[in-house]
């Protein structure tokens, strides 16, 4: 596909190269553009945001005691097909999100080969400028978290099915809890920008409800971070034992 093929001339009957008329090819062709990669970021990001909110709410059942929490764990695993379907969707979302992020970051780095000697932010937030490394940090944390509380490989005393025990013994190690708390602060940074900008990336935007989007994104960011952090802190303080 030569670049010249994308220029609209009177001879292109409907203005599109031949291969974009096939649905699957059209999907790849859209992803080929930087804007298309942003759509992928927004959609996979939304999957992440939705997951993280539901995961936090489910985890808060630790405050309801071992019976409730372990029953919740059993419920999640009760339907193997559904469990693996969800796991595959989440894995695919994380992989596509990371891949698109890398490609976008690379394109953006290449767009300014000689940097400014002086550049001052005027309107951007720390959160927006930190996306490119808060993301990879969260990626590494996810890997650690899976090894810690899902497979148990990084856990000192992992017992399959006893979620409550795993959580309490896991967070009793102070530096493990510290890792989680720090990771959740990075999640807060990442969500503060991501949960808001994902709407604009797909064009969901209107002066009437833009303020609402910003407010909802901030609200969910705050409650998600606080909800997650409350658990290791509660374990360390002995509120949960």
């Amino acid at each position: 596909m030569r670049p010249a093929d994308r220029i609209v001339t009177p001879s292109n009957r409907d203005g599109l190269p031949a291969d974009e008329r096939e649905p699957l090819n059209a999907l790849f062709a859209i992803y080929h553009s930087l804007t298309g990669k942003k759509y992928a970021m927004a959609i996979t990001g939304f999957v992440g945001v939705a997951y993280v909110i539901l995961h936090m709410l489910g985890n808060l059942q630790v405050f309801a005691g071992p019976t409730k929490l372990n029953a919740y764990g059993a419920l999640l695993r009760s339907n193997t097909a559904l469990l693996w379907a969800v796991r595959i969707i989440l894995l695919a979302a994380v992989i596509l999100h990371s891949m698109a992020a890398y490609q976008l970051a690379r394109a953006s780095w290449k767009s300014r080969p000689i940097g400014y000697i002086h550049w001052r932010p005027v309107a951007s937030t720390y959160a927006s400028r930190a996306m490119r490394w808060s993301g990879p940090i969260l990626g590494l944390f996810i890997i650690y978290h899976l090894l810690h509380l899902t497979t148990g490989a990084a856990h000192p005393d992992f017992r399959h099915g006893d979620v409550y025990h795993n959580v309490v013994t896991g967070f009793h190690v102070w530096y493990v809890s510290a890792i989680y708390v720090v990771a959740m602060l990075f999640l807060g940074l990442h969500l503060y920008h991501g949960a808001w900008s994902m709407f604009l990336s797909v064009g969901i935007n209107n002066p009437t409800f833009n303020g609402l989007i910003r407010g909802i994104a901030t609200f969910f960011t705050i409650i998600t971070v606080i909800g997650f952090i409350s658990i290791p802190i509660a374990v360390l303080l002995g509120v949960i034992s």
């Binding site: 670049p3 994308r6 220029i7 609209v8 009177p10 292109n12 009957r13 409907d14 203005g15 599109l16 974009e20 008329r21 059209a26 062709a29 859209i30 553009s33 930087l34 804007t35 298309g36 990669k37 942003k38 759509y39 976008l104 394109a107 953006s108 780095w109 290449k110 767009s111 300014r112 080969p113 000689i114 940097g115 400014y116 000697i117 002086h118 550049w119 001052r120 932010p121 005027v122 309107a123 951007s124 937030t125 927006s128 400028r129 996306m131 920008h193 808001w196 900008s197 709407f199 604009l200 990336s201 797909v202 064009g203 969901i204 935007n205 002066p207 833009n210």
Partner: protein
């Protein structure tokens, strides 16, 4: 007032550049920033040295020719103003000012502070127009457009193609520029027949020129001399999505 300047000097596109120190002396606070550079250049010429090259034309914020980074901010500290509309009263006596050109792979430096912005022209050539046979002008009110829509389209049309958005963007994206043209024409009746092809072609041209991707940092909006809103970038994203899934052939 007297000021200390550090200005990017680069003799041509192939040479490396560097910051050179100058003293701007006896500058009146009512001078525009470009007048101040003219005064510095007069001294340069008197001393037999190469004057600092920079673009300017209308010097009233409407042509889009002028543009430079002043202390790390595109067009300097004044919001909604191009550098030609910035006056020296915005600076203090004795202040140090760092001046650099727009930096982007798509804007190669020609000399000193002058950059080649024809990449923006090529984006416009890729669809930033309507294909219409012109003849006698029809009566303007035969095509009805609401005032709200007209106002919004005109907000987008205010873009003067100066390139500050690209310069300020941490990602080097031309999204605000492309979006302003896409939005302007997508909002008006004359832009409808080619609406989908236009956005696909212009977004592809934007990528082809080597600009970066938009992450909604909103730096562009903050430095735009015409204060164009990032809402137009969201609109362009929607237009591109729509165009990708609309039945081909409009």
């Amino acid at each position: 007032m007297n000021l200390e300047l550090y200005v990017w000097r680069q003799s041509d596109a192939r040479s490396p550049g560097g910051m050179v120190r100058y003293e701007a002396e006896d500058i009146a606070p009512d001078m525009s920033f470009l007048e101040m550079l003219d005064v510095v250049n007069l001294k340069q010429i008197e001393n037999g040295e190469e004057p600092i090259a920079f673009d300017s034309d209308c010097r009233e914020g409407i042509c889009g020719s002028c543009g430079m980074m002043i202390n790390g901010v595109a067009h300097g500290p004044l919001r909604g103003a191009a550098v030609c509309q910035l006056h020296m009263r915005s600076f203090k006596n004795g202040e140090t000012i760092h001046i650099e050109p727009w930096r982007s792979r798509a804007f190669p430096v020609i000399k000193d502070l002058v950059v080649d912005r024809s990449a923006l022209d090529r984006i416009i050539q890729a669809g930033g127009y309507i294909s219409v046979s012109t003849g006698g002008a029809p009566e303007a009110n035969t095509i009805l457009v609401s005032k709200q829509r007209t106002d919004l389209a005109l907000d987008a049309a205010a873009c003067i193609q100066c390139g500050a958005c690209v310069a300020a963007c941490p990602n080097g994206s031309a999204a605000l520029f492309t979006a302003s043209k896409v939005s302007n024409l997508a909002l008006l009746p004359q832009g409808q027949p080619e609406r989908n092809r236009r956005v696909i072609s212009m977004v592809a041209a934007m990528d082809r020129e080597g600009f970066g991707a938009c992450s909604m940092h909103r730096e562009c909006e903050a430095v735009c001399p015409k204060e164009i809103s990032v809402n137009f970038i969201a609109r362009m994203n929607w237009e591109r999505l729509r165009a990708g899934f609309t039945r081909f052939g409009e």
